[in-house]
Amino acid sequence: MTGQDVYIVGVAMHPFGRFPEKSSLQMGTEMILAALADAQLSMKDMQVFGCGSLFENGSGQRIINELGNPGVPIYNVTNACATGAMAVRVPFMEIKAGIADVGLALGYEKMGKGGMTVPGQADMAARMAAQGGERPKKVFEPGKVPVMTEGILGTNTMPGTFAEIGMEYARNNEGVGFEQFAKVAVKSHEHSALNPYAQYRRVFTLEEVMEADIIAWPNTLPMCGPTGDGAAALVLVSGDKLKTLPDDVRKRAVKISASALYSDPYNEDNMSPSAPDVNTLTRTAADRAYEDSGVDPQDLDLVELHDCFATAELVHYDNLRLCEPGMAGKFIDEGSPYRDGKIPVNVSGGLVSKGHPIGCTGAANMVEVSMHLRGEAGDRQIEGAKVGMTHVIGLGSTCAVHILEKVTA
């Protein structure tokens, strides 16, 4: 990768959870100010702003105007669950290209309860029964059959869709089944117990995970990422700008060694839109990130990957080359992704336990890895961490993989 080197010099992350007493504006602006303070920079220094929110797209101006706007170029970005990573990629690209030498990114979302489901049959039946009164005449015509297909043409819901993705991996690879998927959730919940930013910090046994309510088998309730509120902000600078910053900022800088972004190409194996291919684009992005950074998978000290469901995390062990091809079951069986394992994965607790405020997730996982590389991750610190990877997927689909490195000079 040519162009300017890009560094993270300011980070801030709001705890994930449900905060009915706080507005999204409040959460977002608090994190921006905290990240600026961390970088010892001001709003007036900012030359570009990437603002990511799925449900409040277009809110960048509203947020900046609360903080004093130097007329900064604002990019309001969305890319489903990859939105937060898009927000970071905006200043990254401008700095890389030499257009700007300092920029700001915010990923945030306020979801409360509920979230990424489509109305189920039960919901629709209840809604129709509650409506009462006269209904319009129902007439079917070719090409115009207003029948809800959820539960008829399979599922379009996320727990089921990602369950199928896991089951496809199980079909093609030995040693993968319900128990391996459940073990992933056990690991992530155990990790989250150490993370004060996590939405949930409860530890589960394997039996508790496997015997919990079925959402979409093999995903039980503790194997599914919760909806919630969150915000994360980062300040990025060029290598030239970094040289001008105070010592205590410079020595805590984190280099973005690779930023790879891909969408999913045509794949005849996935003709139904509700059966997305999350593998091809993840593998392509990971390979590009490894190539650009010169980092080998075995060099990684920690990985924050997109485990919206436990079934998703397992397939990404393979897609991100963390295990030998086809050996993701063995990888979890041997405890490799535990914080004391071969390659610690989702030491934050991941989306499954830390939470998944959609527009925030991709920015927050970069903050998380930065905290470890700085040695500032508290009880959950991976000791001596020098290289980390972040990964997010937004269905539709988009995949962003970043490799971050501790600055040793």
């Binding site: 189920g120 029948v147 539960g151 008829i152 043409l153 727990p159 959402i215 139904s272």
Partner: protein, 131 residues
């Protein structure tokens, strides 16, 4: 009164009910809609209908409980013999003993009425059953 498919790629009036894909005449890529350009070869095609097999294998499934009516349903991805694939319900699967549903099991396409309008027209869906 007539039987009307709930999606336009389900064909009910040409022999045995089956799914119909659109096939790029330049490269053979399959899709359920006619794109402006082919996703594989980047040409306008042209695209022509292709009848898909009614037999296939179970590639993946999930037993959906949350948000579903009654005891749930089984969402299944099926690979057709001879090419093409689709997602729909596995209508005769085991909703309680999940691992009784076998990945790779042979399945066949079936159709059934999911709703009837005020004039007696039937909306017909497709699904799969193990054979």
């Amino acid at each position: 009164m007539s039987k009307i498919p709930i999606v336009n790629y389900l064909v009910l009036d040409d022999g045995e009910p089956h799914l119909q894909a659109m096939e790029c005449q330049n490269c053979g890529a399959l899709t359920y809609r006619t794109p402006i350009q082919c996703g594989r070869c980047y040409t306008p095609g042209p695209f022509a209908p292709k009848k898909l097999s009614t037999q296939g294998t179970l590639r993946a499934f999930s037993v959906v409980k949350r948000g579903a009516v009654g005891n749930g349903f089984i969402s299944a991805i099926v690979d057709f013999d001879g090419g093409g694939n689709v997602k729909a319900n596995l209508v005769n699967g085991d909703l309680d003993n999940f691992e009784n549903n076998k990945l790779g099991a042979p399945v066949r396409l079936v159709t059934y009425t999911v709703d009837t309008d005020d004039e007696g027209n039937e909306a017909v869906a497709f699904g799969f059953e193990t054979v």
